[in-house]
Every structure is written in structure tokens, then in C-alpha cells.
Symmetry: C2
Subunit: 338 residues, 2 copies
């Protein structure tokens, strides 16, 4: 009996990502092999640098969405493998360029590629991964897939520029901020989730539903990430606490605290976030202000809202193990905040 209880306990601790990874073990293994295989180049710096960031792991959440939605939609071929590698390459390219732009030294608890090799290789290997991703889509050869991924990438890149423009601008309001994260984060989740029904040749309603699932899951994911920047333990986050604050990156917790603050508080936010004039104790004061205005908890509440939409968008699909796991991922993404 004791053993059974222990197993149940064990099961509870298993994250839905692990569950999904077990459920789709062969596919995920094939995808990992494709990722390693397709980032190969005779220019050895390319697989070295790309391998560093890809091996550092991360959750493979985006490629997993493509694999899971394809299988949930009854797809029986193997195109989803290469396409999930393609999604991971686009994601990795943006991480490399993000770290250059943000001057980050840490990524997923490891030294970032720019910290090890410098900015130049990070920019150029990022470009290589972008172009390799496009070569993979073209190899797949389906114009609907190409449309999803080329438009998705273009929106993502536009979102990155938009984020740069709104950085250090405390006048950014909530809807402007949402526009940024829909483009720079959620769009790739949406595209990844849309690929499954697209290659399974399911009706447009299912494609739209899974796109909505990905989009709203991606928004919730980013909002919780924003909260974690102020509340997580460094080892859990895999990057330094308060990174966003130090860079003057305006995220929803700050948008809310600024909007709800008084003149004195706004002066503080302008000094620290716009002028980047930061002193010892500023980050603690920022967190105090965010707590006073419930800015972090309300950001999680907003994330819950988008999580609910993601949940409902799966309503049209029949019950299945994969569907259950996709639903659990929503909670998992939000519960990271605690």
C-alpha cells in the first residue's frame, strides 16, 4: 500500500510537460534528433554555439505544441518532426538576438552565448538558425505551413522592435504592452499550435481553435515570466532577478504600478526605468510599490484570464490524454508564479 501512495505522490510531482513528453516520447526523441542533425554545419562554430543554447534545454514547450496538436488531431505522418525543429530554431534565433540586445550574461542558468563567444557570433549564428528554419519549412513544401510560419516570424520580429521602442517608456499602457507580448512571445506559440491541425488537414475551426489556444497560452506564459523576474528564486528562473528592472524593460507589473501610483511614485519609476538612474535599494523599493498596488498578483490574475480563454478554445476537441495534458499545461504555466 505504501508503494502505491508513493507512486501517486510521485505522479503529482510530475509536471504536465513531463507527462506530455512521456506520452509523445518517440516524437520528441525524433524532434531532438532532427534539431541536432539540422543545426549541423561544416562551420563548426555554428553547431557549437547553437548546441550550447539548445542543449541548455529549456522546456521545448513550443516544439512540443506542434507535436501535441498534430497528434491530438489524428495526424499519422512525420512532417511534424521537422516542423517542430523549425519552431525551435526560430525560437533559438530570437533568444540569441535577445541576449545580445539585452546584454544578458545568463540564459537558463548557464552563461549566455554572447557571454561566452561575444555578440558577433551570436548575431550571425542567430541569422543562420533563422535561415535554416526557413529552409526546413521550404523542404516541407506546404504553402499553408509556409504562410503560418513566415507570417508568424515576421510578426515576432516586428514585436521585438516594438518592445525595444516601448522599453524605458513609462507611458506604455496595458494595451500597448499586450500588443508587444502578443507579437514577440505569443505569436510563435500560436503558430506552433496551429501547425498540428494544418498538417492533419483538419477544418479551419480546429486550426483557429488551436491557434487561439497557443496565443492565449503564450500571453499567460509571458505575463507569468514578467512576474517571475521580480519574485522567483534565481536558480528557478535561470537568469538574474530584476533583470527586466535593471534594463528598464517595461512589463505589466510596472505598467500597473505606474498607473496606480502617485506623483512621487511615478517620479521614482521615471528615474529608474526611463533615465536608468538606479541606486542600491531601488529594486527593493520597486517591489514594495508593486506589492502596495497588487501589481504582481494582478498580473497573475490577468494571466489566469488568458489561461481561461486557452482552456475554452480546446472545448471543441474530444477528450484524449493529449488534450488533458494541454489543459494541464495552462495551469502549470500559471502556477510557476508561486
Amino acid at each position: 500500500m505504501g508503494v502505491v501512495v508513493n507512486l501517486d505522490e510521485e505522479r503529482k510531482k510530475t509536471s504536465p510537460l513531463d507527462k506530455l513528453a512521456t506520452l509523445l516520447e518517440d516524437d520528441l526523441k525524433a524532434a531532438n534528433e532532427a534539431i541536432v542533425d539540422r543545426m549541423h554545419s561544416p562551420v563548426s562554430l555554428i553547431p557549437q554555439l547553437a548546441g550550447h543554447i539548445i542543449a541548455a534545454g529549456g522546456k521545448r514547450l513550443r516544439p512540443l505544441l506542434t507535436i501535441a496538436t498534430a497528434r491530438m488531431c489524428g495526424y499519422t505522418g512525420d512532417r511534424h518532426i521537422l516542423l517542430s525543429a523549425c519552431i525551435e530554431f526560430i525560437h533559438t534565433a530570437t533568444l540569441l538576438h535577445d541576449d545580445v540586445v539585452d546584454e544578458s550574461d545568463l540564459r537558463r542558468g548557464e552563461s549566455s552565448a554572447n557571454a561566452i563567444w561575444g555578440n558577433k557570433p551570436s548575431v550571425l549564428v542567430g541569422d543562420f538558425l533563422f535561415t535554416r528554419a526557413f529552409a526546413l519549412m521550404v523542404e516541407d513544401g506546404d504553402l499553408e505551413v509556409l504562410r503560418i510560419l513566415s507570417q508568424g516570424s515576421s510578426i515576432l520580429a516586428e514585436g521585438e522592435v516594438l518592445q525595444l521602442v516601448t522599453a524605458n517608456d513609462t507611458e506604455t499602457n496595458e494595451s500597448a504592452y499586450m500588443e508587444v507580448i502578443e507579437a514577440k512571445t505569443a505569436e510563435l506559440f500560436a503558430a506552433a499550435a496551429e501547425l498540428g491541425p494544418a498538417i492533419a488537414e483538419r477544418p479551419k475551426t480546429e486550426q483557429d481553435a488551436l491557434r487561439a489556444y497557443g496565443m492565449n497560452l503564450g500571453i499567460a506564459f509571458q505575463l507569468v515570466d514578467d512576474v517571475l523576474d521580480f519574485s522567483a528564486k534565481e536558480e528557478a528562473l535561470g537568469k538574474a532577478i530584476g533583470d527586466d528592472f535593471r534594463e528598464g524593460k517595461i512589463t505589466l507589473p510596472i505598467v500597473l504600478a505606474f498607473a496606480r501610483g502617485n506623483d512621487e511614485e511615478r517620479t521614482f519609476w521615471k528615474r529608474t526605468m526611463e533615465e536608468l538612474d538606479q541606486k542600491d535599494g531601488d529594486i527593493e523599493h520597486a517591489m514594495e510599490l508593486m506589492n502596495n498596488h497588487a501589481a504582481l498578483t494582478d498580473t497573475v490574475e490577468r494571466a489566469r484570464h488568458y489561461g481561461s480563454i486557452a482552456r475554452d478554445s480546446l472545448g471543441i476537441f474530444p477528450e484524449s490524454e493529449i488534450k488533458t495534458a494541454l489543459l494541464e499545461i495552462i495551469d502549470f504555466v500559471i502556477e510557476r508564479a508561486y
Copy 2:
């Protein structure tokens, strides 16, 4: 009579690029409009920054190749317009990233985008232009075109990394150097020239011939550019003289001078190019060594060799005004060296 002579004189001074631009005036105008139209984004920094570098002009040589080869092959549609914009976007994206990687302050005689806006927007707007280029190809929707451009972009990006790896390495030999410039420069010329026969649905021999024309023209172009870095007038070059030298960028003139030099000379090259330990008078000494070993004139000789191959590859096409202009462009590219 005097008037006739003057006109002839005038005609002689017209570059073959201008001639081709006049011959294909409507197409080039449409391509310029497509370029401006398609780099538009509600994120105003994107058209601002991209517009700066695109407006700074350049010769539009690569998009012109697509337009010219399409028309020479009897193409009567308008797909070449969007595709030439696509080529220009890929080229512009690489220029933006090159300037970040090279830390260049000047581009085509104007301040570079990174000098005005900083590195971050240059990286991200470059990414945007890459993804927009891919969106344009997908809009065209022809898998053969997509293959040419996605493979071409991927080779280009690989070449940029390869160039970074060989930079500051005086052991780089001529064939290693040729590999770099085939990928980072000539491949896009080749792809641009191959698009024309591809959309005109001409036989593979013609596609191969024009690809070879573009490839060899591109190599000649880059070799002459390498020479110009040491010999041009700054206003003609549109960038600072000796930029390559100061960055320790190994180009063919240096490969030749190093190979032909004695131990003392090699010590000089290692100090200046590998250790980047440069003093006043070093660039003058470098030019003296290159002159002693005929490194610049022999690089132009190599360019001529590739120019001849480009010339012969046009042999299978019937005479036409466009063909004549494409032949003249070869000489024009090489004569820039004088």
C-alpha cells in the same frame, strides 16, 4: 556634328548599371515602390531605419539582376518585381547585421544605422527584414523560387559566420578565402540571377548559366571591393579606407601578401591582423608590402578570371540589349578598381 559627338561622349560616361536601369526603367520603378511599400510597418522605427539604409541607395545591383535576367528570358509577368524587393531585403538585413558585427560607422558614405540608432535596433530591424523577405517569397508561392532563396539565404548566413571564424587568422589560404566570399557575397548574386529564368520557366541549362553568371560576377565584385578598401578614395568607396585592415579582416590582398612575404613580413601581418596591435604608419606599411608583392593588382587579375567565366556563361543566350548590358556590368565591376 558637334552635338552628335557630345552625345557619344555622354553615352560613354553612362555606367552599364545606369543603362540597364534606363532599359528596365518601369520595372525598376515598380521594384523601388514595392521595396518602400513592403518595408512598411506600424512600428515606425522599422521603416525609418530600413528606409535610411535603403534610401542611401547603393546600386540596387542585386534586385536589378533579377529584373534583368527575367526580362532577358522573355518573362512577361510581374512576379520579378516582388522577388527583386525580396532580394534587396535580404541584402539590407545582412548589411545591417554586418555593420553591427564590424562596428562600422559609415555605410555608402552615410552614417550607418548602428551609428545613428545603436546596435539593438539594427539587429532587430535586420531580423524583421529577413522575415519580411521570407513572407514575400511565400506570397509568391513558387516552391522552386522558395528553394533558391531559402538555400541562398542559408548559405549566405553560413558564410557570414565563416568570415567571422577566418577573421584575424593569417593562416587563411586563398581557397578558404574563396569559400567565404562565395557564400557571403556571391551566393546572393547567384540566387538573384537564377530567379529570372526560374520564373520565366526556362530550361535548367539557362537557369544554371545565369546562376553561374551571378556567382562569378559576385566573386569578382567582392574581390574588387577588397582591393578598393586599400586603394579607393574615401568618397568613392562610401566607407573609411583601410576598414578591413583595422578590423583584422583577412581579404585576398592580404592572403597573397602573407603567402609571398618573408618571416619579418609575416610577423608584421600577425601583429597587425591577429593581435590587432596597430600603430601609426602600419596601414602605409601594409600597402607597401602589398605593392611589393603585387597583391592588389593580382587580386584584380583574379577578379578578371571570374569575370571571364561570368562572360562565357552568357554565351548561350541570343544577343539582346539586356545581355549586352549584363556583359558590360562585368567590366564595370572590375574597372571600379581603377
